[in-house]
């Protein structure tokens, strides 16, 4: 007979397990929304503190913990934005500084240029597409987890990621192929 785990003890275990694993990704995600590192740290701290007062910690003991943390982090980031009456500005400095923070000391100049190009075009995407792409390719959330974190349906998430990747491919394509791809039905010159 399995003893029923104490909720308080389960919460403590969840917090101890989640903190080292999701601390940095959550700060990155909150920074991508707020564009403020200090505010992102406060938001992530509140996110983990919310874990202490969760009603049913057993439901988070598994794959549900990650989307729950991202959901709380996203909601608190949006709350912070509303409180500050700030619009989400695509300030390239703070955004690029954080987003391109991959520790790659041996990266070549070409790969850095490529990453800068990708980030520059990534900033041109609509906010909902960029958020889904970020959650997918930066935070490695599945379509279902993205849907749970953002409140969208899985089909909607799939459409946003498909559209965002397609647009990014068009922007990253060389100019010549971009021109032919943009106008495939143009009549050939005589």
């Amino acid at each position: 007979m399995n003893p029923i785990p104490d909720p308080g003890q389960l919460r403590a275990e969840l917090v101890q397990r989640a903190l080292p694993e999701f601390e940095r990704p959550l700060i990155g995600y909150a920074t991508s929304i707020t564009h403020d590192h200090d505010a992102a740290r406060d938001i992530v701290q509140d996110t983990f503190l919310k874990l202490w007062i969760h009603e049913d910690p057993a439901s988070l003991d598994g794959p549900g913990l990650k989307p729950w943390l991202y959901t709380v982090c996203r909601n608190r980031s949006l709350d912070w934005l509303r409180r500050r009456h700030r619009l989400v500005s695509l300030d390239s400095d703070s955004f690029a500084q954080f987003a391109a923070s991959t520790p790659e000391p041996a990266a070549t100049a070409s790969s850095r240029d490529d990453a800068a190009d990708v980030l520059r075009y990534f900033q041109r995407l609509p906010a909902n597409q960029a958020e889904c792409l970020r959650l997918k390719f930066q935070h490695d959330l599945s379509y279902k987890e993205i849907a749970a974190a953002t409140g969208l349906t899985v089909t909607n998430v799939g459409f946003l990621i498909h559209t965002g990747l397609k647009r990014l491919r068009q922007l990253l394509a060389p100019p010549a192929s971009r021109a032919t791809a943009a106008s495939p039905l143009l009549p050939l010159p005589n």
Partner: protein, 237 residues
């Protein structure tokens, strides 16, 4: 027509995902059999890898040690109290009665006022229509007051004032038209006789009282020196 590669299911399968439900058969066939679709899937995968590398797998920023300790050693009761107070706190420091009302509340009087006006107008039309219907159904009432209701005259006509009412004879069927008696002084139309010549008025300027100018005696001959007329009268010694 969209190609199978344009389908979100195709992108999802290319990056190793799966959307709920069965993907369309055309997408599966294209992915497994069509070389062009496979190249398309490779291109999607390549773009996803470039994006993942550019974004980075995770952030480099972390919490400081004090925050981490505060999280690990948090008291659930204190945390609960903190979030409860946060959710119930008012953002404005001003009291509630002096806080400016939101925009939607500021114009809340418009709808009830418009509704009340609509009710009054509808009631007025209903009452008038009811009275008209009653009169049309009851001819005795109609005889008593032939003037139709619903049209209110602002001021009653003043029969004594000629400017208010003009006595223009109206042609009513059955009425006797008065005979027109011909005036013998006026020739009939079409007659060749001349118009009567009116006698010229006798203009007499011989009344001294009517003329302010000094008059000459009629019988006397005019004086040789006209200035003697204006000479001063002689004084009696």
């Amino acid at each position: 027509m969209k190609s199978p590669a344009d389908h979100p299911d195709f992108t999802a399968m290319a990056i190793g995902e799966h959307i709920d439900g069965t993907p369309p058969q055309a997408v599966l066939d294209a992915l497994h059999q069509n070389p062009a679709a496979r190249r398309e899937a490779d291109a999607i995968r390549s773009t996803a890898q470039r994006l993942s590398a550019a974004l980075g797998s995770s952030g480099s920023h972390s919490l400081d040690s004090a925050a981490r300790l505060a999280i690990l050693n948090a008291d659930p009761a204190a945390v609960r109290a903190r979030f409860a107070s946060e959710s119930s706190s008012q953002p404005a420091s001003t009291p509630a009665n002096t806080r400016p009302r939101p925009r939607h509340d500021r114009y809340s009087w418009v709808v009830p006022t418009a509704a009340a006006a609509a009710v009054v107008i509808a009631g007025w039309f209903f009452l008038n229509n009811t009275r008209i219907r009653q009169r049309s159904n009851n001819p005795s009432t109609q005889d008593e007051n032939p003037e139709p209701t619903g049209f209110v005259r602002a001021t009653p006509p003043d029969k004594s004032s000629p400017t208010q009412r003009r006595d223009i004879p109206r042609h009513t069927p059955g009425a006797v038209t008065p005979e027109i008696v011909a005036d013998p002084a006026i020739p009939a139309p079409g007659s060749s006789s001349q118009l009567p010549v009116m006698p010229a008025p006798a203009v007499a300027n011989d009344d001294p009282a009517r003329s302010p100018m000094p008059q000459l005696p009629k019988s006397a001959t005019p004086p040789a020196n006209p200035s003697s007329l204006f000479a001063a009268p002689e004084r009696n010694p």
